[in-house]
Amino acid sequence: MNFWFAVFRQAGRNLRQTWTSQFMTFLTVSLSVLIFAFFYLIYTNMIGAGDRLSDDLRLIVYLEDDPGPEMQEQLRRKINNFDKTESIQFISKSDAYERFAEQLGEDSDVLTDMPRDFLPASIEVVPLKSLRGYNQIKLFSEYLATLPGSEKVQYGQEWVERFYYFTRLITIVVLLSGTLLILTATFMVAYTIRLTIMGRHEELELLKLVGATNNYIRTPFLLEGTLQGLMGSIIGLSALYILFQWISLHFTGPGLINLFHFTFFPPMVIVSIILGSIGLCTIGSFTSIQKFLKI
């Protein structure tokens, strides 16, 4: 294996002789991976939190009267016809009275004089998670208002609206900054690799003149690119993991535990990030060096 011996000797020499620029490239790759992964992690956790927050979204249809079992069946069918739901629960007037009493707690004695049916009956509709766009919810609520016997539909409009706008805003901000950063990072890695290779164009040209095959010239650089992609992504991800542990440790407060259940990337995503980084660096090296080989 003369070829591989030569390739490794050359790659070793390159690492030894140009280690500052190699180190700069490596640092750039690490930082880029760190930034990318950081934003991706925020994004996935944000989506998770959004899901969990909207768990308690339910539409309440106040009815004129307690519906009979037949009527209930009919309403259920109608609702499900319009849109799939997670669950539909009927709450009779007496159920509502009991709930209210429970909510009042100690003060429930104020209700003793009240008739047990002074609160209206209602239907609690929990829409499917996948159908929770703000406009869909609004449409749904409008439909529910047209149901026979429906008096009023409540779903904390204001709260839902705020929440949806807020998550949408955050999503856009994260996506925007993510794109910006990934562009910057890719640009930087490409530029750094290009400059590193440009800085050695004399050597590359000499090798060509002296009769080295393209593979002989190219392979050490590709190897370096691969190594940098691998090392850079591993270091970047490790740094992120340490950061993640630090944040997790500082946010074990009871208030957020159910809101933000932080998770790190699953192994598949980690492997993908590493492979992506390797791929990008190798392709970057390849295209940069290809220019010299064509001259």
Partner: protein, 243 residues
Amino acid sequence: MPKIVQNQDPIETKDIPGNTMIEMIKVSRTYAPDIKALSDISFTVDTGELFFLIGRSGAGKTTLLKLICNMDTPSKGLIEVAGHNINNLKGKKLAHLRQKIGVAYQDFKLLSDRTVAENIAISMEVSYKKPRAIRQRVRDLLEQLQLTDKHDALTGDLSRGEQQRIALARSVANSPRLILVDEPTGNLDAATTERVMDLLTRCNKAGATIVIATHDASIYQKGNHRVMELRNGKIHSLSRNSR
């Protein structure tokens, strides 16, 4: 005294097949915007010949050598080296042919941040010579050129004349069949020039074809070999030294 033959037609020497190392037919090279570095050059160099290329500064000597080793492509004309049309060669075939051609460039093209030994070794490494053989050859060459003590010096630190010798050593290291040497003694004193020419003569005796471009009358005026003079990109004369 050299016998001068003005604008000699080289067709007659072309007739010996299998024996021609370089053949140029009506080769021109024009640079933008309108610089005719070479025009209508036709000549042949036989295998094993020691061939001199002379001419004033800017006559086109370096351009001619560049065309032979495919560093540059002709604007017009045909160039054959060792039977290959060198302008149609690509990829591996070109690389293999280049391994058989050693070139000492006028601007040396040394890697200034590498040691002398590494610079000389590079042409042998490319054709996968054994490390031991490489080490041995490098030491031999350095000894012949009186540079033994510079074995591990960085090439960029050497004096100009030392660099010139390293460039020459690299060109002959891989025992190529064709050696192109551009101004090998421009920075060398007479005694060192002698040593360099000795080395080249030895390579020539071992079978290598050698083309030397030079201004130095002292090296082309002795011995029995052909000398081609370029003038403004044209062949002014092609003669054989009679001594």
